[in-house]
């Protein structure tokens, strides 16, 4: 805003001076006068009867219109002089009002760096500069008081350098506390090996593949946390970029890692091996492969031997049954049966020459017509002497006489089941035999009597999928192996006597010691469980000798031997001594691993069998051969 105009020098001519003072002039808007002059008379507003038109005309006609302003105090129009207009212009530009004022005059140094002998001003010193200040005195006294009271401490002489002295001058044995004994000192850093050298022997340097493998490993997995490198001279060795990292990691280990005393197992591995009697002292047992019986074209699933030990019968997937002479490996007879042979069993009665063969849904009773003519003639007579009973009995199976054609081949009787038969086994006396049907009902196990051609179903209820069954050699017991349990039934009392837990997933086969008190069970999860029936219902020992599923197990009749055949193609013969003394536990020692069978279709040995009198073992395999080890 423009500063209020001072009374103009041209004004004294009229000398109209308003005396209202510095008040807003709007207050006199509604009055005819505008204030009072020195004499106290009213100053009237000039008569203004100009309208818009007049104003316009004046603007157009009056050349000084632009420099005419209205004095608010008197209401009169004033024409600004040239000097005044000039002043207005300069102020608008932000310049000094006075034309003659030079803002850029050369500076005159008032105070200089040189000490002057005279004071700059001639002003005499104040009185207060001669008397002590009260305020200061008060402040000082406060500080003194504070120092006295110990509120302000005097400045300590600064000494950063730590002072050292003989800290362990008086080593006090009492200062070793319990916590020092409990303290686990941090293990020291591992000392560097040859590979960390700047110039290691050449074998410690990593090859290209090793380097690549090292790079792909996780940093935590790496055996070395650096890549060995070779430099020709010490001058060429660079700084190690992870040096600070490694120190830092050590620091972290020191304060973050839980420490623990770990007892190292310092065992001589030889001490861990159990001391067993030497196999040499446990002879006889089969050691080498003696004969190979070739002829079958497909897997040989099952084996059986005549009680005299002269003849061997084998059933195969090529739908034939072959009879062999044991000593010569000659195939005496081939019997085509028109179906896969699942199981064969030679009658254990030496006076009867009869073989039971499982073919699909029927069990064939075959007279092989081998050996003593009197003997097999007698067997035929025995079978023919059967007389049909008067009344027809309801039977779970059908007993059918063989046709003439079949008769000429040797087949005497067919026992036809409702479903496929998977196992057949004879009772020790040779009159009864049991068959297992792959079924899920209570009709899985059937017991047949040959002399009376009479079958019965011993169980009312099914207890699971039956894998195999077995007669006790002496007592009227009957063993039924389901997937995980072996049940022992008393046939006379018709009750369950025992239930053995095998601790296996799936039992494949079972064999009983000729003494009748011990059972071995092979399972598909490659375990062999030895049960002592007098001891407990849990296995006395679980042998994990095989690497793959066990297919069959067998006991020797006279020698303390048992064998197991497995899918890994081996037969393991073990010494299994059972003592008459009840207090002494059976002694189990593996004595021989017999190899020979070739793996075909991931199957190895399918059946094992001991010779009834000699310490020989037969094995049949998936490669279509039967082998004899002596």
């Amino acid at each position: 805003p423009c500063p209020p105009l001072t009374p103009l020098p041209s004004a004294p001519l009229q000398d109209i001076r308003n005396t209202v003072g510095n008040i807003p002039m709007e207050w006199y808007q509604d009055f005819p006068h505008i204030g009072y002059n020195l004499e106290g008379k009213r100053i009237y507003k000039p008569i203004r009867n100009k309208d818009e038109l007049d104003m316009f005309l004046e603007k157009m006609e009056n050349p000084d219109y632009w420099r005419t302003v209205q004095d608010k105090m008197t209401g009169a129009d004033i024409k600004l002089t040239d000097e005044q207009v000039d002043l207005v212009h300069r102020l608008q530009k932000g310049q000094f009002g006075d034309v003659h004022f030079n803002p850029y005059e050369p500076a005159v140094d008032f105070f200089t760096h040189e000490v002057m002998i005279h004071p700059v001003t001639n002003r005499p010193a104040d009185k207060r500069s001669f008397i002590p200040s009260l305020i200061e005195k008060e402040k000082v006294s406060k500080l003194v008081h504070a120092i006295k009271m110990g509120w302000i401490k005097p400045r300590k002489p600064k000494d950063d350098t730590p002072t050292y002295y003989d800290l362990w001058a008086h080593e006090d044995p009492n200062s070793i506390l319990g916590r020092h004994k409990m303290h686990v000192p941090a293990p020291k850093m591992k000392l560097p090996g040859h590979e960390e050298s700047y110039n290691p022997p050449p074998e410690y340097l990593l090859s290209e593949e090793e380097k690549l493998a090292w790079e792909q490993q996780e940093p935590a997995e790496r055996k070395l946390n650096f890549v060995p490198q070779q430099y020709r001279c010490l001058r060429a060795v660079p700084a190690y970029s992870r040096f600070i990292h490694e120190r830092f990691e050590r620091c972290l280990d020191l304060y973050l890692c839980p420490r623990q005393r770990k007892m190292r197992v310092n065992v001589d591995p030889e001490d861990l091996i159990p001391k067993l009697p030497k196999p040499r002292d446990l002879q006889p047992f089969p050691t080498t492969q003696a004969l190979v019986y070739r002829g079958h074209t497909s897997l040989v699933r099952c084996l059986s031997i005549s009680p005299s030990g002269q003849w061997l019968v084998s059933g195969s997937d090529d739908c034939t049954v072959r009879f062999w002479e044991v000593c010569t490996a000659r195939c005496m007879k081939t019997l085509p049966v028109g179906g896969v042979v699942k199981s064969v069993a030679w009658n254990p009665n030496p006076t009867v020459c009869l073989v039971a063969i499982c073919v699909e849904q029927s069990v064939l009773l075959v007279n092989p017509c081998l050996g003593d003519k009197l003997l097999y003639g007698a067997t035929d007579q025995l079978l023919e002497s059967y007389v049909e009973p008067e009344e027809e009995r309801v039977q779970p199976v059908q007993w059918v006489m063989a046709t003439v054609e079949e008769h000429s081949k040797g087949v005497r009787v067919l026992v036809q089941h409702s479903k496929a038969v998977k196992q057949v086994t004879w009772h020790g006396k040779g009159d009864y035999f049991a068959s297992v049907v792959s079924d899920n009902s209570n009709m899985q196990v059937l017991i047949h009597q040959t002399s009376k051609r009479w079958s019965q179903n011993p169980f009312r209820k099914s207890k699971g999928l039956v894998q195999c069954v077995l007669f006790h050699p002496i007592r009227p017991y009957f063993f039924v192996a389901t997937q995980r349990y072996v049940r022992v039934y008393n046939l006379l009392k018709q009750e369950l006597t025992k239930k053995l837990m095998t601790n296996c997933k799936w039992v494949s086969s079972m064999a009983i010691h000729p003494g009748g008190d011990n059972i071995i069970c092979g399972s598909y999860d490659s375990k062999l469980a030895w049960f002592d029936l007098d001891l407990s219902t849990r296995p006395y020992q679980l042998l994990r000798h095989h690497k793959k599923a066990l297919r069959s197990v067998a006991f020797h009749k006279h020698y303390p031997l048992f064998a197991s055949g497995s899918d890994d193609g081996t037969v393991i013969v073990c010494h299994g001594m059972v003592y008459n003394d009840l207090l002494q536990n059976p002694l189990l020692v593996p004595v021989k691993v017999l190899k020979g069978h070739v793996l075909t279709l991931d199957l190895g040995v399918l059946d094992v069998l001991f010779h009834p009198t000699q310490p020989w073992v037969f094995s049949s395999g998936a490669d279509g051969t039967v082998r004899l080890y002596t």
Binding site: I152, K156, K158, D160, Y164, Y165, D166, L167, W168, E171, D172, S175, R179, P185, A186, K188, M189, L191, P192, H194, E196, S197, Y198, N199, P201, P202, E203, Y204, F226, L234, R235, V237, P238, A239, Y240, F243, I244, H245, E246, R247, C251, L252, L254, Y255, L256, R259, V265, V267, P269, L272, I273, P274, L276, P279, R544, H545, V589, P590, V591, V593
Partner: protein, 585 residues
């Protein structure tokens, strides 16, 4: 019966442990302070045996401390200092906020500080305990002393670290206790035997550090704070055990020698003192003037139940040690400017040698290059222009290898520009069955005093190696199936018969049989073993397999190294032959 039954997690092992957070709350400390306290007091977490029980049924990952440890921390005076420091920081911040500069000054002057002396004493009740834990302290101090004087941590800390490290080096020189040195790609390892305790430390190569960002320097600084205190006290005690002055003074005569010829002062007194000390060229002043009768023969006190043989071996060891200590005695070294001065000067002086360097390189040079009495000059250049007659020009590795071998090695392998023999780690002691590099075998033979022709030596080494290999192979063969062995037998037989056919001379069958029997016996034994292994219990079998796996892996690794070496050697030989042929052509 009186008393209330305690609840499930208020008894047993749950009461022995405390989680980190609870411990922190109990001590009323912030996490960084708690961490600092744990570092200073050496408290570490514990892993409970039954984590779930201690963790009140939860399986979340938590750090547990022993409650006893935390109770022990409660009485620590340092905890109060931490709190004071917290208050100080608060006051200071307030004063800054109000721009009360005089208050700021006053507060800064009265900054609370603490000492760690009592903690050192408490953690290491005896001096030997402290020596046992010196490894990390030394490595850390040597690392910190190489840090730049800006940024990362306080300048005072760095200076202190440097001072302590130099003092320790001077002690090692004075006591001649250095035993092993190793130039690795990470840095230089030293091992000294201080009062019967092996102390190992590593120093980085002297280059500027590339400071990593993922490292917490506060943790390192806290460790260093403790380590400097520890090392200071240890140094004091060590110096006094040798009757040396502490803080160390340079010996009077040497001091005069060290004074620079120019009249102007080299630097401020305090600075030049440390530099002179760190030059490692002057001996230190003793409290009592050394007498030459110091080396008194040790009296022999036969220990009960010790045989004469053992005494003899002990005596021999003692003699060997004395000899080792004086390895470089009487030799005068000169270091060229391209070799690392400090490590070499340290090593040479620790074994009694005299050492000097160019005057412009560092303070403390005692003689000039032109000194005719110099016996060895250490050079790390491919060739030397002006050779002075009467001295060996050698690469620095010679010094380190000689120290590790405990004898002055033949110099021929270490001339400038020559391809150096490998530098082996002195920390490896090969056990039976480990791979031993042929250089090591050579060295061992040399130490035994044998010094036959080199080539025969090499062959010997190779033969030995081969023998080892054979043994290993045999071991391996045991595990192979007998079938393969049978096959081998068959092959051997066939070869024999063929040779029979070819030559009219008969080979007696008896010998063959004899071998057969041995073989058979071996086979039988191995089979017996295999069968016995089958009968092992599951747990024992697992352990046995683990042990055997470890053994086999060891053998495999050794074999691999041997094979690599063999391949390398054959390649080298072929190259040599080729070059020879080329030369002839």
């Amino acid at each position: 019966m009186g008393g209330l039954e305690k609840k499930k997690y208020e008894r047993g092992s749950a009461t022995n442990y405390i989680t980190r957070n609870r411990a922190r709350k109990k001590l009323q400390l912030s996490l960084p302070d708690f961490r600092r306290l744990c570092i200073l007091k050496g408290i570490y977490p514990h892993e409970p045996k039954h984590k779930k029980k201690v963790n009140k049924g939860s399986t979340a990952a938590r750090t547990f401390y022993l409650l006893k440890d935390i109770k022990f921390l409660l009485h620590e005076p340092i905890v109060n200092k931490f709190r004071e420091y917290k208050v100080f920081v608060r006051k200071l911040r307030k004063a800054y906020g109000k721009s009360e500069w005089s208050t700021v000054d006053r507060l800064k002057d009265n900054k609370p500080s603490y000492k760690l002396d009592h903690i050192v004493k408490e953690r290491y009740p005896t001096f030997v305990d402290a020596l046992r834990d010196l490894d990390d302290a030394l490595s850390m101090c040597f690392l910190f002393s190489t840090f730049p004087r800006t940024g990362k941590c306080h300048v005072q800390t760095i200076q202190l670290c440097r001072r302590l490290a130099v003092e320790f080096l001077n002690y090692v020189i004075a006591s001649r206790s250095l035993r092993k040195v190793f130039l690795s790609i990470k840095g230089i390892y030293y091992q000294a035997e201080v009062l019967g305790q092996p102390v190992t430390w590593i120093t980085p190569y002297t280059f500027a550090h590339d400071h990593p960002t993922d490292v917490d320097y506060r943790v390192m600084a806290t460790f260093t704070e403790f380590y400097t205190t520890l090392l200071g006290f240890v140094n004091f005690r060590l110096y006094h055990s040798l009757n040396l002055l502490y803080p160390p003074k340079i010996d009077g005569q040497a001091d005069v020698e060290l004074k620079p010829a120019e009249g102007k002062d080299y630097a401020m007194d305090s600075e030049s003192y440390l530099e002179k000390l760190s030059a490692l060229s002057a001996s230190l002043a003793r409290v009592v003037a050394p007498t030459h009768e110091d080396e008194v023969e040790m009296d022999e006190f036969p220990v009960e139940g010790e045989t004469a043989e053992q005494m003899d071996t002990r005596k021999k060891e003692q003699e060997a040690l004395e000899k080792h200590k004086k390895l470089f005695e009487g030799l005068r070294f000169f270091l060229n400017r391209e070799v690392p001065r400090e490590p070499l000067a340290f090593v040479i002086r620790s074994f009694g040698g005299q050492v000097s360097w160019d005057k412009s390189l560092c303070i403390g040079a005692t003689y000039d290059v032109s000194d005719p009495s110099i016996t060895h000059q250490i050079v790390d250049r491919p060739r030397v222009e002006q050779q002075v007659v009467g001295r060996y020009y050698l690469q620095p590795q010679w010094v380190f290898d000689s120290v590790n071998a405990k004898l002055c090695l033949p110099v021929a392998d270490y001339f400038p520009g020559v391809l150096l023999p490998p530098h082996l780690s002195p920390f490896v002691t090969e056990q039976e069955g480990d791979y031993v590099p042929p250089e090591k075998l050579k060295l061992l033979a040399m130490q035994r005093g044998e010094n036959p022709d080199e080539e025969s030596e090499e062959e010997d080494g190779e033969e030995e190696e081969e023998d080892d290999d054979n043994e290993k192979e045999e071991e391996e063969e045991e595990d192979e199936s007998e079938k393969e062995e049978e096959m081998k037998l068959k092959k051997m037989e066939e070869q024999k018969t063929q040779s029979d056919k070819a030559l009219p001379v008969k080979v007696t069958a008896g010998k063959l049989r004899l071998e057969d029997r041995q073989r058979l016996e071996q086979e039988q034994q191995s089979e017996e073993k295999r069968l016995a292994i089958m009968m092992m219990k599951k747990r024992e079998k697992y352990l046995y397999k683990k042990i055997m796996f470890g053994k086999k892996r060891k053998v495999r690794e050794a074999n691999k190294l041997a094979a690599k070496r063999k391949a390398h050697d054959t390649a080298l030989k072929e190259e040599k032959k080729k070059s020879k042929k080329a030369r002839r052509a």
